[in-house]
Symmetry: C2
Subunit: 238 residues, 2 copies
Amino acid sequence: MNKFFDIYMDLRKKIEHAEFATGSLLPSEKTLSEHYHVSRETIRKALALLLEGGYIQKKQGKGSIVLDIRRFNFPVSGLISFKELQDSQQIPNETIVIKNKLETIPDFLAEDLKVDPNRKVISLIRLRKIAGEVVIMDKDYLFNDIIEQIPSDVAENSIYAYLENELGLNIAYAKKEFVVEPATREDHKLMNLKDDTHVVVVKSEVYLEDTRLFQYTESRHRLDRFRFVEFARRKHSL
Amino acid sequence: MNKFFDIYMDLRKKIEHAEFATGSLLPSEKTLSEHYHVSRETIRKALALLLEGGYIQKKQGKGSIVLDIRRFNFPVSGLISFKELQDSQQIPNETIVIKNKLETIPDFLAEDLKVDPNRKVISLIRLRKIAGEVVIMDKDYLFNDIIEQIPSDVAENSIYAYLENELGLNIAYAKKEFVVEPATREDHKLMNLKDDTHVVVVKSEVYLEDTRLFQYTESRHRLDRFRFVEFARRKHSL
DNA sequence: CAGTGGTCTAGACCACTAT
DNA sequence: TAGTGGTCTAGACCACTGT
């Protein structure tokens, strides 16, 4: 659809397939604009995506240097669901739905999120098995006035795909907070925690395109299986 | 210098000072371009920065909605140093330099980073005190063929400011990895770990604008004081 | 329908890097 | 000095939102 996105995908593919060698320079923006028969600004939009993703580094007066993509293996940042993440990395996984019912939002949560304490939520608890072991417990709260229900086969797979493709809801952005908390009795009961005293908790508030908050999630990870990787750029001048 | 950056800063200030109310719409891009006497594309670059920072949400056909910035208190992501972070949040802090000497790169690190095992590095160990307690230990390795030495007063303050302002080196990007590891004897000796069995470790590979790797850092955090917040956008279509 | 943001263009000038 | 990326413009057309 978009020219710049297609060009981004094409260049990315060529970098991943080593058609453009690590450390070498990409063709100049002028050359690329002639090759793809588009204006230079359109090329620059494609390059901006490569830059953001850690595929290239630009230098004024010099060119666009191809980075070693293997070095940035699994940049697992951004807003992506468990199902999408596992699928993209081709890791065998299984989801067990422990709970899926309608209830009033818990008091602590209504207070934290500053929403009406009488609002109804769909409360989900799902265990994530990787290589046969339960290493993640996800506790989701979805506002019932936005999402009527989650069919159980959806809960076992991708909720995000269901919301986006079936309900036409567009997920836009999230605030994510990473902390370490003492393991609860529930953590010990549902996960194989061994002697661990703590779990890593990723708390997410997820919003739709129209800025409505529709989901709060606590993803509770066993310490030794938690890993988060991100590619970050330095923002000069604030 | 840049028009779009100045406009970004101006709009951001107005959002932070509630001159544009949360939930309301920003003036249209056309209106803004007339107000600032610039082209629409320049306005769009400014808005792209606001979008990335979680200040607004755009909607085609509608406008740019101002988000509740208080809800995204401390988006502590990106590539920022301890000193910059603490200063920006006005938290009283103190750095104690435990080690600052030239040595050959440790074997495990040369292997991980795939660099010559004979290269020399400046090896730093610094303790970070917050509210009187040592809660973070930073272990830095800076390549000596890029950085000759780190004066001790610099190690106590901002290394990044020294590199950028004194040495003229431009820090560009980093790969950051978050994991939880068992606490070492050294962790227990240097930090107030109490009964903790683990620490959160943030491993960073930091690169310059010319794509040279110049720093590897392990930032070791006490579990109960670790917190990482990020604002993430959903990237539709891969 | 008018107004909004999303994409794209062709051209200009500037700042930086090489040689 | 020639070639690169960085910024900016004025205009065009499209897709989407509201009334």
